[in-house]
């Protein structure tokens, strides 16, 4: 055995047993399991979940409390549908956590979440609250049903610990409009020192444009088709040779300024570029 190579534990595929499933509606579920390595995730990191006989997909770690890990999934295709409807006791595979995650910075953070992107921000939100910092959360969804964390974030126990602004495109919950539009209004007050965003790239790009000329730092979590997750296949490349799987998925505003394809192009499984 080559002594210069160290076994890297998170690379290894581990079998996990589904211990609990929280079904919000037929399209959204949080799947709970135990895994010591995933439990130590930094907010914003992701895992690869293997659904045997089907696929393996990247999902943000949305839960790491009381010994339980969780991933929150939206049903958008075959693999996510199987995962949404997984039963307690079923076995899945997990690799990771992978990627850099968010750096928890700032005393007055604005967190902008789009749709299921909120799953990747949930741990960050709690980290701020534990540090006695009050984050402002803008959570944009199409409809009120798609805001699966509304109940959690509007709890009485959160009063004073979190400023929460739900936004829906159809106006069925909170303000009518887009998360980026509400973020724009809030940013005009200049009360924030750091912006975090996770969601559809169009939204991220809007937020990036809002902050790019302002003197405040920002971190964005990007999504790409992930295959290896360990920085060798190149599938998730952006900009001047950055890998979303390993260098990301979180990139700072200053790094993204150099990434010409941010907000414009992504890649299919074949590696072919397509317009976002």
């Amino acid at each position: 055995m080559n002594p210069e190579i160290q076994k890297i534990d998170n690379f290894r595929m581990r079998a996990i047993t589904v211990l609990d499933v929280k079904r919000y509606d037929e399209r959204f579920s949080t799947i709970y399991f135990r895994d010591k390595i995933v439990y130590k995730s930094v907010p914003g990191q992701y895992v690869m979940i293997w659904i045997p006989g089907c696929d393996e997909i990247p999902l943000s770690v949305s839960h790491a409390e009381d010994g339980l890990c969780g991933v929150t999934v939206k049903n958008v295709g075959e693999a996510t549908s199987k995962l949404c409807n997984v039963s307690v006791g079923e076995k899945l595979g997990v690799r990771g956590p992978f990627g850099n995650g968010f750096k928890c910075m700032g005393k007055r953070p604005l967190i902008v979440a789009g749709g299921i992107g909120v799953a990747g921000l949930r741990l960050l939100l709690y980290k701020f609250i534990r540090k006695s910092i009050t984050p402002t959360l803008v959570l944009g969804t199409r409809t009120s049903e798609e805001n699966i964390f509304h109940e959690e974030f509007s709890k009485n126990s959160f009063k004073g610990l979190l400023k929460y602004y739900p936004v829906t495109e159809d106006g069925s919950l909170g303000e009518r409009g887009l998360a980026s539009e509400v973020a724009e209004k809030l940013l005009s007050s200049n009360e924030f020192d750091h912006v975090y965003a996770c969601g559809a790239e169009k939204m991220l790009y809007e937020v990036f444009n809002l902050v790019s000329d302002k003197g405040l730092s920002a971190q964005f979590s990007l999504e790409r088709y992930i295959k290896c997750a360990v920085g060798v296949c190149g599938q998730c490349v952006i900009g001047d040779g950055l890998l979303v799987c390993k260098d990301g998925p979180v990139f700072t505003k200053s790094v993204l300024k150099r990434v010409k394809d941010f907000g414009k192009f992504s890649r299919k499984a074949s590696g072919k570029r397509f317009q976002i």
Binding site: I5, W50, P52
Partner: protein, 306 residues
């Protein structure tokens, strides 16, 4: 002053390289930006991901399975955007180091078609990925049939005026027979070896891990297999050999040179060491050469045979 006339520069089948380390095909080589990142990490030459005539999605995930610290099992399934899209992405890009385009096909004609299209990019060389399924004989690989390998190399050689490397599959009874067929057809160098057929089953889930059930193994586990093949090829063939298989540190690279490789390719090692691996191997190689009073890499090549 030993270091005065000491050099890591080397030349191989007409390619002038600052050092004998190349990026192996299939690792990171999807687009110019990544290849440039590898170049600035210290590689002497880079090889692209294999490109074919048409766009291919590849196999479903899991496509990669890391086996402890010794193996990387993969079944990517030759994903690529197709040669036309590939041309669009690479057009007008300038590289400071030689760039080798890896080509695959399902017939000799397809290989040469792809190679001809890539000529507009001024390739330093072509590397033929012979671990591809046969168009007619289902289940077997082109690289497993010496006759087919001869036809593929011959077809590309007669279509382009650029060095052609044949990358051999170890999944054969007699690698030498395949190598000789490639050399006879005009291959300018032999790349050895491609991944070793392998699979893994998760004992808790009780199913094969890879989406494609089986795949190819790379990493430290296959290095002794590659060393043996390079050693044997060095005794028997007349063209330079590029060694590849499990290089993770400078000792591994030196082992390949001693066995007979004129240059080496690094791939899976990047998984464990990151892109720093190129700098690490170069530094170790430099010290080794100074310590053993080698003035250039060519003096080490095949030294274990003397």
């Amino acid at each position: 002053m030993l270091e005065m006339n000491f050099s890591l520069e080397t030349e191989l089948a007409g390619l002038k390289m600052d050092n004998p380390l190349m990026l192996a095909s299939g690792i990171l080589g999807l687009c110019p930006s990544l290849l440039k990142r590898v170049a600035s990490a210290g590689a002497g030459a880079v090889v692209t991901k294999s490109v074919g005539l048409r766009e291919r999605e590849g196999f479903p995930n899991p496509t990669v399975h890391v086996i402890d610290s010794y193996g990387l099992l993969n079944a990517m399934g030759l994903p690529n955007p197709g040669v036309e899209e590939f041309l669009k992405e690479f057009e007008g890009e300038k590289f400071q180091i030689p760039i080798v385009y890896s080509v695959y096909g399902s017939s000799p004609e397809e290989y040469s078609q792809v190679a001809k299209k890539l000529l507009s990019l001024n390739p330093s060389a072509f590397e033929l990925n012979l671990s591809c399924p046969h168009v007619r004989e289902v289940g077997s690989l082109i690289g497993q049939d010496p006759r087919m390998v001869y036809n593929v190399v011959n077809s590309v050689k007669s279509s382009v005026n650029v060095p052609v490397f044949a990358k051999l599959s170890p999944n054969v009874t007699d690698v030498l027979e395949v190598a000789e067929a490639a050399v006879k057809a005009g291959a300018d160098a032999i790349v050895a070896i491609n991944t070793v057929k392998a699979m893994a089953i998760d004992v808790d889930i009780m199913k094969p891990v890879l989406g494609n059930v089986y795949g190819g193994l790379s990493g430290p586990a296959i290095k002794p297999i590659a060393i043996k093949i390079v050693y044997d090829l060095f005794e028997n063939i007349s063209v330079p050999i590029i060694g590849v298989g499990g290089i993770c540190c400078w000792r591994d690279a030196v082992e390949f040179f001693l066995a007979g490789a004129s240059a080496v390719q690094i791939g899976s090692g990047i998984l464990w060491r990151g892109l720093n691996i190129f700098g690490e191997v170069l530094e170790g190689l430099r010290k080794y050469m100074i310590e053993h009073k080698f003035k250039n890499v060519k003096e080490i090549v095949g030294a274990a045979h003397k």
